[in-house]
Amino acid sequence: MIWIFIYAELLVFGILFLAYAFARARNVALFNESQLHLNRTAGAVNTLVLITSSYFVVRAVAAIRADRTRACARWLLAAVAMAGIFVVVKLGEYAAASAHGITMSTNTFFMFYWAMTFFHFMHVLLGMVILLAVWWKARHGAYSAAEHTGVETGASYWHMVDMVWIILFPLVYVMH
């Protein structure tokens, strides 16, 4: 079931990516110029943070399959901490953009920048809530090697959030 949801979410993001790409095709100069205002290093740091967070979630799943509940909870918490870094960096980027008076109305590029990254940002926040809920249940021994559907579901969702960012970063920050 979570897979149907994940595919549907990927579809939404996929259409956003394609809309961005074809909107760019109609206004290449504007997109290339605007892209230079983005902080590529911040984007890359966030990519590293998210893939590492995803990896920690993998470790959490591995731990629970070996029936190591406490290790599972620890890895989950570490994953959430990484997500926290993502949030901080992203908010910093948003603050810098706002300080330069860059809004959704600035131009089509920044409309997409705000819409896509913010939509993804909301997914990160939701993912954090889900991971925290799974962590809380794991800590209270709700999962075991035999039954840990909740961990797997939360993990799959989090990997989806990661995957979307892996496409978003080169597309919006780097490619021109």
Binding site: F5, A8, V12, I15, A19, F112, A115
Partner: protein, 459 residues
């Protein structure tokens, strides 16, 4: 019936059906006025007929939703309703207030009604679908609060299921977004902006949660499929509804003076709004295919299967046709919109209310699980008559709309509105004929309630 307090649903359902009949009659009057301009003028001018047609629809659907909630929540929560008396009192208040408002529309000129009800003190009238006098709006809020109190307390003291929680969120959302009906800024752009928070976030947002939960309830009851499976589907469907529907509000913001980015956001997100409806189709057919028992109420199953299909076609496909801003640039406010509106409302909301009525009414009337097969045959005939009629109404209006867009907007030499209206009159006549068949279907539906009482308590 498992809980005696579920019986309060019955008057709500009866009122809903009664108002439904009224809605269709005014629809027919108005449909005729399209081609016979001064029909019933000056007694019932077109604008009044339209107002009554749309307002009755909303009010009877609200009656249906409330009836559904009163029936469904005690059974889901496994406890009696917090206060059946309150539910009955609110029923009469809502019915009388609704009737007075409709009479006000019909008997007093609209401006007179505004003066009479003190609209100048707190102006909220004069906006499409929110035409109700301010005091009626306040009445609606009071009824909604009492209703929500009753439902919420019932759920709090009983078992909490996904179905009842989704329903509760939907109903609370319905009430909260209605509050924007009181927000009436002088700036027309802002006025329209927030007006859609009532209209769009109702029908393309919280109402879909209500739809999903009622449909899930009927499917659990009629198919016997595990609650767990149905709940998972419900989660995914409502998540997709909210992801696409909330930002999808943007598809109403193309031409009202809002920033340009709404063209993109509205187009992209609303284009995805068919997804949850498509999931609903898969969901309903899957559940019926995996059924663990043959429920004797075949008619209810038919309605439950018809709902997602027609909702997907009407809301999903017909909505998608004109939701992209470059397309909407030409189709905005034409008969294409009317076509979409008719099939979407029928498919999504009329049919789900009729589905829960079909499931609950026999039980409420003490007929065990279902009506007699003969009564069900009549009901199923009414299903097909009404559904096929609405398909034809939609097709004829779409034809009218395409011609209208072509002659009035796309053409090298655009023709004036009224000239075009003359040219598409044939489609309006055909639509009216389809409307008459719809009324026949509705009469058959009413007759089905009076058949087969003698076979009580079988099955």
């Amino acid at each position: 019936m498992q809980y005696s307090s579920q019986a309060v649903a019955k008057p709500y359902f009866i009122a809903a059906i009664g108002l439904f009949v009224g809605q269709i009659l005014f629809g027919l009057i108005m449909g005729l006025q399209y081609v016979w301009g001064d029909f019933l003028f000056p007694e019932i001018p077109f604008n009044v007929a339209r107002m009554v047609h749309t307002n009755l629809l909303i009010v009877w659907l609200l009656f249906g939703f409330m009836g559904a909630a009163y029936y469904l929540v005690p059974e889901e929560a496994e406890t009696e309703l917090a206060s059946p008396k309150l539910a009955l009192a609110l029923f009469w208040i809502f019915l009388v207030a609704g009737a007075l408002t409709i009479l006000g529309y019909l008997l007093v000129p609209y401006s007179g009604l505004a003066k009479l009800t003190g609209n100048d003190l707190f102006p909220t009238m004069g906006r499409e679908f929110l035409e109700q006098p301010t005091i009626t709006k306040i009445g609606i809020v009071i009824v909604a609060l009492g209703f929500l109190y009753n439902i919420t307390m019932t759920i709090l003291k009983g078992r909490k299921t996904v179905i009842s929680l989704v329903l509760l969120i939907g109903l609370w959302g319905l009430a909260v977004f209605f509050l924007f009906a009181f927000f009436n800024p002088a700036n027309l752009v802002l006025d329209k902006f927030y007006w859609w928070w009532v209209v769009h976030l109702w029908v393309e947002g919280v109402w879909e949660l209500i739809l999903g939960s009622i449909l899930a309830f009927v499917l659990i009851k009629t198919t016997g499929v595990d609650r767990e499976i149905i709940e998972k589907w419900l989660y995914v469907i409502i998540a997709m509804t909210l992801i696409t529907g909330i930002v999808g509000t943007g598809h109403h913001y193309y031409w009202i003076g809002t920033p340009e980015y709404w063209q993109w956001l509205g187009s992209i997100f609303s284009a995805l709004e068919p997804i949850p409806f498509f999931m609903m189709v898969i969901f309903a057919f899957n559940m019926v295919n995996q059924r663990r028992r043959e429920h004797p109420n075949k008619a209810a199953v038919l309605w439950a299967l018809g709902t997602p299909v027609m909702a997907f076609l009407g809301a999903g496909v017909w909505g998608f046709m004109h939701t992209l801003s470059p397309v909407n640039y030409y189709t905005h406010g034409t008969q294409i919109t009317a076509a979409h509106g008719h099939m979407a409302f029928y498919g999504a909301y009329v049919m789900v209310v009729l589905a829960i009525i079909s499931y609950a009414m026999p039980i409420l009337r003490g007929r065990a699980a279902a009506n007699s097969p003969r009564a069900q045959v009549w009901e199923m005939w009414s299903f097909w008559l009404m559904t096929i009629s609405i398909v034809f109404i939609t097709l004829f209006l779409t034809g009218a709309g395409i011609l209208q867009v072509w002659l009035q907007r796309v053409s090298e030499n655009p023709e004036p509105f009224m000239v075009v209206q003359e040219k598409i009159a044939l489609f309006y006549w055909m639509r009216e004929v389809a409307g008459v068949f719809f009324l026949v279907g509705l009469v058959v539906y009413l007759i089905s309630f009076f058949i087969g009482g003698e076979e009580e308590a079988t099955a």
